[in-house]
């Protein structure tokens, strides 16, 4: 399909779904950084002994999301 003169793009189902998945992964990455911040705030409100473990868990999740988002966006 010729969108602009001289530029042909083959619009397929895979392309549309792929773009949507990439956008959703970016939204998830954004939400995970909000969760990291929110966990820190929650830990400040109630300082429980296992707060640091949860903080580490949430950071690990963020880093994993970052790596996977990069892979999915580049792929």
């Amino acid at each position: 399909m010729e969108i602009f003169p001289g530029i042909n793009i083959d619009i397929s189902l895979s392309l549309i779904v792929g773009i949507m998945v990439k956008m959703l992964m970016l939204i998830l990455l954004f939400l995970s950084i909000i969760m990291v911040r929110q966990e820190a705030l929650m830990d400040r409100v109630v300082n429980l002994p296992m707060g640091n473990t949860l903080k580490t868990l949430v950071w690990v999740f963020f880093v994993m999301t970052l790596i996977l988002t990069t892979i999915v966006v580049i792929a």
Partner: protein
């Protein structure tokens, strides 16, 4: 000369019969549990010398809904081929979709767990604190003095609450202040509703004892 009055004299949780009884029983010491007696924690706005007597949160059984949902959704990618549109996309997009689903499930699970874990009810020897987090962007913290508490009651509704022994502890205060948003949105009878708390009878007993102690101190003129 015998001591008649000491304004600096403070009560401690060791003086509460119910708390001492529960502490010696060795139950309610697990921080992951839904009821912890005399925990060694700190919270925002804690006064100097203020001792925490109860740390409560919703019973773990209340999480079964989202855990079941995650368990169900976990197996969805095994049946990608059964979905007509998804079956037509390329392997690359298949992989991306699977990654997205599992990451979303992990996010959903962690968020729900954090909300359960940090939505706590704290009873100290001076105050009651109800910390509510709704979603990841909104928090609501209610604090009241024990001497302002007028009435405490609890209710257990349904099979689950009777079976697992959890219920709602409703604390009525003298204050007219109402958190309308909380009241309207989540159907709580009072801003101080300890919802689905484990062993509500013990919680009510401890709060009643604290109220009696507070009244006694007021009578003796030892209000802090």
């Amino acid at each position: 000369m015998p001591e008649i009055f000491d304004s600096h004299k403070k009560k401690d949780e060791g003086g509460l019969v119910e708390v001492q009884k529960l502490m010696t029983s060795g139950r309610f010491r697990n921080y992951w549990g839904s009821l912890v007696i005399a925990p060694n924690i700190k919270f925002e706005s804690q006064n100097e010398g203020e001792k925490i007597i109860i740390l409560g949160r919703k019973h773990f059984v209340t999480n079964l809904g989202w855990i079941a949902l995650i368990c169900f959704a976990f197996f969805v990618p095994f049946f990608w081929g059964e979905f007509p549109l998804i079956a037509d996309v390329s392997d690359n997009v298949h992989f991306s979709l699977t990654v997205l689903l599992y990451m979303t499930l992990a996010f959903f699970g962690m968020m729900n767990f954090l909300l359960w874990f940090y939505n706590v009810y704290i009873v100290t020897d001076e105050r009651l604190i109800d910390v509510d987090f709704f979603g990841i962007l909104y928090k609501n913290i209610n604090v009241t003095q024990i001497r302002k508490v007028e009435d405490v009651n609890y209710s257990q509704k349904g099979i689950m609450s009777s079976f697992f022994n959890f219920g709602d502890v409703v604390i009525q205060t003298a204050s007219e202040q109402r958190s309308d948003e909380v009241f309207g949105k989540h159907g709580e009878a009072s801003p101080f509703t300890f919802g689905a708390i484990s062993n509500p009878n013990e919680v009510v007993r401890i709060i009643s004892e604290l109220m009696e102690q507070e009244e006694r101190e007021e009578y003796e003129g030892r209000i802090r």
